[in-house]
């Protein structure tokens, strides 16, 4: 018997995504504005739907001798890419301070660059990039300790049921 299709809430987290190394992020940020920290590719036979009401948070730590959380003004960005990495759309960009709330859902950041009332559809093979701007433009480059950092993004996942 063919399996049913289920549509369910799915929190994409650090555990699901592929992490870059600290050096990859920092080298990338020297040459480009934003450095990917984690990437996630939508699996075969899955579709992810993102809405402007979906919440997310990021927690980023630097790699200095006295490890600390990233500074409030640092910029972070979430973007989605097609499977060929040719087309991209930014779904959130803002200061780190605005996206680090993880406890109070009233204060958590939302994917506010997606037009309200619309759904962004990510078909199999499409990517979500979680990016940080390691270069703050004025002083020394920011560093990142990827293994001490984490994130979570609310999505809606459509996939065949297990049974």
């Amino acid at each position: 018997m063919a399996r049913k299709i289920v549509s369910e809430a799915f929190w994409l987290t650090t555990a699901n995504a592929t992490a870059k190394t600290d050096a990859q992020c920092e080298n990338f940020a020297i040459r480009y504005t934003f450095a990917p920290i984690w990437t996630y590719q939508v699996p075969v036979n899955n579709i992810l739907l993102l809405k402007s009401s979906h919440h997310f948070y990021l927690h980023l730590e630097d790699d200095e001798s006295t490890s600390a959380e990233w500074g409030d003004p640092q910029q972070v960005r979430l973007s989605v890419w097609d499977a060929d990495l040719r087309k991209m759309q930014i779904i959130y960009q803002g200061r780190y301070v605005a996206s680090k709330e993880m406890q109070d859902v009233e204060k958590m950041a939302v994917l506010d660059l997606i037009p309200a009332g619309q759904e962004l559809k990510l078909e199999e093979g499409a990517w979500i990039y979680i990016e940080g701007m390691c270069d703050n433009g004025t002083t020394a480059l920011y560093t990142i300790d990827v293994s001490d950092s984490h994130f979570s993004i609310e999505t809606e996942r459509v996939k065949p049921s297990l049974f």
Partner: protein, 63 residues
């Protein structure tokens, strides 16, 4: 119990079974409809993931 009583009971059983058959079983609105429509957000096979999203979110856009 005389014959009249037994005939009344038999007639009642026949009437009840006819009513049950035509009033309830043949009426899709009054029978328990155990299909995918009653199971929340699942849809019946053989839909694909793409077909589901197309019908549930006709205006969804992609990159």
């Amino acid at each position: 119990m005389d014959w009249n009583q037994m005939l009344s009971i038999a007639l009642a059983i026949v009437v009840a079974s006819v009513v049950n058959r035509y009033l309830f079983k043949n009426n899709p609105n009054s029978t328990p409809n155990i299909t995918a429509q009653n199971q929340g957000n699942t849809l019946s096979p053989p839909q694909t993931v793409e077909q589901y999203v197309k019908s549930a979110y006709p205006n969804a856009w992609t990159v």
